[in-house]
């Protein structure tokens, strides 16, 4: 089986400061990988390099594209990279406002993504948009409302609908449940779990919530100071952490 995403020696520096360094891994179709670490450990830098939002200084990010097979997204042209970000991959931001257009309707937010990949039939676009709003449990009667009138949890679900409507194979998520209250977070986890299973989606999820990782991710990478200090099966890393920092991280979680 070909890896969906094959990352080799990826590094990004901010001047003298290390963003992330020498990160390598392979992600296969249907796998969910979690990235954990304290703030400033390079999680988001890594995620942005993988998604093509930041240019790494060194390394390769080979994406198995639907149309052309494996291609390095680092050396791709900008239009090609942007197209890939609409068709094969998607990015769910921590703050829904960063991933949504707040001035257009909920239906428009979902439909815009479809138009970007070439859909032109208004009826089809509206039909798909409504279908996706229902899948993320937003009342279809709200299709013409702007996201500014939505709660934080609804905005986050709308952002997920907007990202998944084009049927990506890989979703990058930056703290998708951060800032949501726990009942909303549980709904979102349930939604993501179902999407991963039913659509065979792969995902890379950056979070600092180990409970979220345990429920969603098959694999886990622990980062510290820009480097991956431990990687493996999620329950192995959480139940039997090997590196001093992973042990500290796991033992610092408060029991509910």
């Amino acid at each position: 089986m070909t890896a969906l995403l094959s990352v080799k020696d990826l590094s990004k520096r901010y001047g003298a400061h290390i963003g992330c360094a020498d990160v390598s891994f392979d992600l296969y179709p249907g796998e969910v990988m979690g990235i954990v670490g304290e703030s400033g450990s390079g999680k988001s830098t890594l995620l942005n390099c993988l998604a093509g939002h930041l240019a790494p200084d060194a390394g390769q990010v080979v994406f198995d594209t639907r149309t052309d097979g494996p291609k390095d997204t680092v050396t791709m042209s900008e239009p090609e990279r942007r197209m890939l970000g609409r068709t094969d991959s998607a990015f769910v931001h921590q703050h829904a406002r960063d991933g949504l257009r707040m001035g257009i309707s909920a239906g428009g937010n979902v439909g815009e993504r479809l138009m970007a990949v070439g859909e032109r039939h208004y009826g089809d676009i509206r039909g798909k948009a409504t279908d996706w709003l229902e899948r993320v449990e937003i009342d279809s009667a709200r299709v013409d409302d702007r996201p500014t009138t939505f709660s934080g949890g609804m905005q986050q679900r709308l952002q997920i609908a907007r990202n998944l409507v084009t049927g990506p194979r890989l979703v990058f998520m930056d703290e998708p449940t951060g800032g949501l209250d726990v009942s909303v977070q549980a709904r979102l986890l349930d939604l993501l779990r179902g999407l991963v299973r039913d659509m065979g989606l792969s995902a890379i999820i950056v979070t600092h919530d180990l409970a979220v990782v345990r429920l969603l991710a098959d694999r886990l990478m622990v980062m510290k100071s820009g480097r991956v200090v431990e990687a493996g099966l999620t329950d192995q890393v959480l139940d039997d952490p090997q590196h001093a920092y992973s042990q500290l991280l796991v033992s610092s979680v408060l029991q509910v």
């Binding site: 796998e31 549980a186 986890l189 098959d218 694999r219 099966l233 139940d239 039997d240």
Partner: protein
């Protein structure tokens, strides 16, 4: 089916003065299909540790743990994921689920993961839940709010939904009443009859005597004096 060769385990606690705890060393045994083996030994002897090593959530330092044709010690994460999905089942003492997911789905989930249709998976889940005396009115609710015994039974239903060729059972009859204990034991006997290799920890001696063909005393693998 399950074969351990010279397996050893050490914990290094970096944040507690780098204490090194040798738990077990040089463990070798094998379990064939249709056989149920009990791990015995006093509390702290390493029964659960060994069980978790066989499931792969504890890392094994040396040796080989072969399940079917996969060596867990060397396997890549995705091979272990596939192994757990298709071959190796684990009934732990604690139920860990995504909140809000209905009990019926929790139980059907392992079947859905191996490609069984939603309908067939749900049918099988219903049979198991009925067998384990979980009232039908609870099926659409999340098990997170259930009593300890009910959660344990949901966990068992989930563990037995897919016919895994190899199974690990961590105290499957703990916190169950006589009727349900009997049902769980018959599920284990059924699994043995279809050829599953089973390793279990049973504190319930009568249960152990009934379903287990052999006992392995884990304390004989204890690593001398802890460093």
């Amino acid at each position: 089916m399950i074969c351990l060769e010279n397996v050893s385990k050490t914990f290094t606690l970096h944040n507690q003065g780098s204490a090194i705890i040798d738990v077990i060393s040089d463990v070798s045994f094998s379990v064939s299909g249709g056989e149920c083996v009990a791990l015995t030994g006093a509390s702290g002897a390493g029964k659960s540790t060994l069980m978790r090593m066989i499931y792969g959530n504890y890392l094994t330092q040396s040796g080989a743990i072969r399940i079917g044709d996969v060596d867990l010690v060397q396997a890549e994460p995705r091979d272990v994921i596939a192994l757990r999905r298709e071959v190796l089942g684990y009934v732990s003492q604690f139920l860990r689920v995504v909140p809000r997911v209905p009990t019926l789905e929790v139980v059907a989930d392992p079947l859905r993961a191996v490609g069984v249709s939603a309908e067939d998976a749900s049918d099988r889940a219903q049979v198991l839940l009925r067998q384990l005396n979980i009232p039908e009115r609870l099926w659409s609710l999340s098990p997170t709010t259930f009593s300890g015994g009910e959660q344990q039974r949901v966990n068992i239903a989930r563990g037995f939904a897919h016919a895994y060729p190899a199974m690990l059972l961590d105290e499957p009859t703990a916190s169950l009443d006589a009727v349900n204990r009997e049902i769980v034991l018959s599920l284990i006997e059924e699994a043995k009859a279809r050829g599953a290799a089973i390793i279990g920890i049973f504190h319930d001696e009568a249960a152990r005597a009934r379903v287990c063909d052999r006992e392995i005393d884990v304390s004989r693998f204890a690593s001398g004096v802890a460093a």
